[in-house]
Amino acid sequence: MKRKIGEVKNEKAIIVRELIKNFESIERGKGLTGKIKSLYNPKKKKVEALRGISFSIDKGELVGFIGPNGAGKTTTLKVLSGLLYPTSGFTQVLGYNPWERKNSYLKKIATVMGQKNQLWWDLPAIDTLELNQAIYELPQNTYKENLNELTELLEVKDLLNTQVRKLSLGQRMKFELIAALIHRPQVLFLDEPTIGLDVVAQQKVRDFIQDYNKKFNATIMLTSHNMDDLIDLAKRVIVIDKGEIIFDGKLSDLVSGFAKEKTIKLYFSKDIDVKSLENIGKVKKFSFPQATITVPRESVAFAAAELLQNFPIADLTIEEENIESIIRRVFRGEKK
């Protein structure tokens, strides 16, 4: 059989079909009597964390996974890394069923949860790394090579022998990343990798994730509340809310699809009457000589012409609505 050229390029790393995950929890009553009651008459509560989501991710793709708290992002990542048993549906990563947690599968993936640490608190980071070398059965030279590369990229080489508890949060997060990537995984599940870091450290970690993705053609799924993470890193985003996918596509499409308005920033040369501005668009901010108004996308040219004709304008710029506010609107459930 002849193979089409396109097939190799579009090799799927992750396939998820109709994935459902329900959690069952027992509601505990209030106070002592309620607690005792729940012992012999437990009220079970079903929580539908994922309601049949489907998506697939190509090899080498870097996808941002966004949604409000409790939307199901972490649950999805946990199912894919084999931690949670799916209620129903099909999941496949690199041809493996994650739930089986075969050693050969676990050697190819890495899961980093921003709030879970694997470093041994009382020992220097190098001890945890050596332990991982043994666990992942890395030959000495591969290990040394990876270690060198990672510590140089993240600039923490001279901290290898410092007790972990004495490291700053940012340094610790970097070592968490190194510990998770020392076996050079092909698929990465990153849950809030920049949580709690300062702006400089965030940027370092972001650059690093991007480098790693490019250099090793690694497939990366990343969740974050930090919009900068997504804008910088992910071309494609999957928006999830209440266990359902509400958008899957290019970040730029999300923006143009949801951005109904454009922002016009104005600088006036003379004082004007604010009221007359309101005839043209919504006034968001006014403090002479600056004003910010928003107008519908389709009438932006008309509004600009109107402004230039009837007002003493010194300068005028037209901007897209910023991504953060769009995503906020998406989460609030606004439709296109």
């Binding site: 959690f23 972490t74 946990k78 890394s81 084999g82 931690l83 949670l84 048993y85 947690r101 050693n103 050969s104 676990l106 050697k107 993936i109 890495a110 899961t111 949860m113 709030q115 879970k116 640490n117 694997q118 041994w120 009382d122 020992l123 001890d127 945890t128 050596e130 332990l131 991982n132 070398q133 043994a134 666990i135 992942y136 059965e137 849950d191």
Partner: protein, 267 residues
């Protein structure tokens, strides 16, 4: 290097990461031995006194034996498993190509090796200072059987702890209660830690000997003291091994079920 050897190595480093804590722990051990020794020595000070069929020498040997075997068998690192499950830290191990049971067993053995090393030094010193009238076993076969029964006991207790810890998969807050029930109520009572089990009537002893608990402390000690006849030895080891197999099977089942219910709490 083998992964479980490396787990043992890092566990050792962890144990001695704080030398002062470590030294204080050893000092506590020595003081404990001294206290127990003087207590029982005083209780049996009048010559010829016999309690539960034990005279001074026998009870002292039993008490020392209990302390050693207990410290070695019933102090298990795997106590933390329930906590790891309820805090969701189990996730860290699950995403790695490592067997969780063997991981804890390696950590436990490392800590036991360290414990044994220091305990031996302390006991040799104390022995020459106090010169207690204790019984030293000279029969090499019995010493070998004693060590085998200790290894059985360690495995049995670790598996029991894992089974009990599995409760946390379904009831995260119940871990402590379940442990208390196992380690304090059942084990302390039925393993011979509180008193020698041969103070019970023979019929009761027979029943207790069919449960797994005497094989944790009492049985190894009886083997060491040479108190068992050959048929009793064989029977003991057979029951011991049967329990091990049953529990291993059961743990395997319950653990698989537990993982399906696992929610990786904490986030």
């Amino acid at each position: 290097m083998n992964k479980y050897l490396q787990v043992g190595k890092i566990s050792l480093r962890q144990e001695i990461a704080y030398p002062i804590n470590f030294i204080m722990w050893r000092v506590r051990n020595v003081i404990q031995i001294l206290l127990v020794y003087f207590l029982w020595d005083a209780a049996f000070s009048s010559p010829g006194r016999i309690l539960f069929g034990y005279d001074r020498d026998k009870i002292l040997t039993y008490i020392f034996g209990i302390m050693l075997v207990r410290a070695f068998v019933l102090s298990s690192k795997s106590m933390d498993v329930a906590g790891e499950i309820s805090r969701g830290e189990l996730s860290n191990s699950l995403v790695k190509p490592i067997n969780y049971f063997k991981y804890w067993l390696s950590r436990d053995l490392a800590s036991k090796v360290l414990n044994l090393l220091f305990a031996t030094i302390e006991i040799v010193v104390l022995y020459f200072v106090l010169k207690p009238p204790v019984f030293l076993q000279g029969n090499l076969l019995l010493i070998f059987l004693f060590m085998s029964s200790i290894i059985f006991a360690i495995l049995l207790f670790t598996i029991l702890l894992f089974i009990v810890s599995s409760v946390t998969f379904w009831a995260p807050e119940a871990g402590w209660g379940a442990h208390f029930l196992l380690t304090v109520v059942i084990v302390e009572f039925l393993s011979g830690v509180l008193f020698p089990l041969d103070v019970f009537p023979l019929a009761v002893q027979k029943i207790i000997n069919l449960t797994p608990f005497p094989y944790l402390v009492f049985f190894p000690l009886q083997v060491y003291l040479g108190k068992l006849t050959s048929p009793e030895l064989v029977k003991g080891f057979v029951v011991d091994a049967l329990w091990l197999i049953v529990f291993m099977y059961f743990l395997n089942k319950i653990w698989k079920k537990g993982l399906k219910a696992y929610e990786g709490y904490g986030r």
